[in-house]
């Protein structure tokens, strides 16, 4: 499936955060913001479609907890870890090519 770069980066950010351990949606949002120094942040609930898509694809597992007021916790699956590893490698390749090109353009 062809997805845009920003969409892919967002997915990888979420997977990277969840690789550190299970978290609620808001914790994922905060962690992404903090760990990227605010360069990446999720506003207006944009985090949820990403979480739900990854869950539907089997890359995350969402679990409800609590009797009265329920809360949803996400944890990464083995498939998610593979996607994260491969996605990170892909991005690294793409960015190194891009930076090299930009460096040459700048030098020229």
């Amino acid at each position: 499936m062809q997805i845009t770069l920003s969409k892919r980066i967002n997915e990888l950010l979420v997977l990277a955060v969840l690789e550190q351990g299970p978290a609620h949606g808001y914790q994922v949002a905060m962690s992404v913001e903090e760990r990227t120094g605010g360069i990446f942040s999720f506003q207006h609930g944009t985090l949820y479609p990403i979480l739900h898509r990854l869950e539907a694809e089997g890359q995350l597992r969402g679990e409800w907890s609590g009797d009265g007021r329920r809360r949803k916790t996400y944890r990464i699956t083995a498939a998610g870890q593979t996607t994260l590893r491969e996605g990170a490698e892909d991005l690294q390749r793409q960015f190194s090519v891009l930076l090299e090109l930009l460096g040459r353009t700048h030098a020229a």
Binding site: H24, G25, M30, H44, L47, Y48
Partner: protein, 255 residues
């Protein structure tokens, strides 16, 4: 400003099944509260913490569209993607009308244009078509669009009951009328009487059969309707509990 939005507005705007809707708003509601508490711990005032939490987590219209695309029933998604959602109901109604007309014409032709029978049969076929269309609308709302809102549910059920009663009445009236004419024709011609009996059976079968199918058809929707109503009840309870500025009116828990 984003904080003017509320969970209730999100709930109203989301066009997915009540069960899905409940899960989505339950998740957002719990996250907003937890994030607000977290931000307050970091020194935000309750109001600014609430605003910041809502700005981050409350879905905007574009986000709602993305969520709907993910959580709408698969059949509905496919029909909308193919651009034929609107045509499905029209095509179904057209096919039902053509079949009903053909059945009616065949019956009238066999009955030698008996005026009273024809009139009754026309009315009965119309009621049966409306009964089928009414059920189809309810089923399409549930399984294609994802939900059947309570006021629409009540309207369709009232119509279904009315049409069931009409089918029984017309079927009974037709069967009685044809039975009466068969009895009257018994002395004159045995074949005419036999035709009358056949027509009587036709009316009884069509009227009572349609009523039974209309009832069973609705009963088939009941499990899903119960699930939806339960979810709607929980959504209402959650929305009563939740308010964009709830934390400003009630003491916030401190850790």
């Amino acid at each position: 400003m984003r904080h003017e939005g509320s969970l209730a507005a999100v709930e109203r705007a989301l066009k997915v099944s009540p069960e899905r809707r409940l899960e989505l708003i339950e998740e957002v509601d719990a996250d907003v509260d937890a994030l607000q508490e977290e931000l307050e711990r970091r020194g935000y005032s309750p109001e600014s913490a609430r605003r910041a939490a809502l700005r981050r987590l409350l879905p905007a219209p574009e986000t709602l569209a993305a969520l709907e695309a993910q959580h709408a029933p698969r059949l509905g998604r496919w029909l909308r993607a193919a651009g034929i959602r609107g045509r499905v109901e029209r095509l179904g109604a057209l096919a039902a009308a053509i079949l009903a007309t053909m059945a009616l014409l065949a019956a009238i032709w066999r009955w030698d244009n008996a005026a009273a029978s024809t009139l009754l049969a026309c009315s009965l076929v119309m009621v049966v078509s409306l009964l089928a269309a009414n059920w189809f609308r309810a089923a399409a709302s549930l399984w294609i669009d994802g939900s059947l809102p309570p006021e629409r549910r009540r309207l369709l059920w009232a119509r279904q009951v009315g049409l069931i009663v009409a089918a029984i009445s017309l079927g009974g009236l037709g069967a009685t009328w044809e039975g009466y004419t068969a009895l009257a024709a018994l002395d004159a011609s045995a074949s005419a009487a036999w035709n009358g009996v056949q027509r009587s059976v036709f009316f009884a079968t069509l009227g009572f059969g349609a009523a039974l199918l209309g009832l069973l058809g609705w009963l088939a929707l009941i499990p899903r309707l119960i699930t939806d109503e339960t979810a709607e009840g929980r959504i209402t309870a959650l929305l009563v509990r939740s308010h964009p500025f709830r934390a400003l009116r009630t003491p916030t828990r401190k850790h």
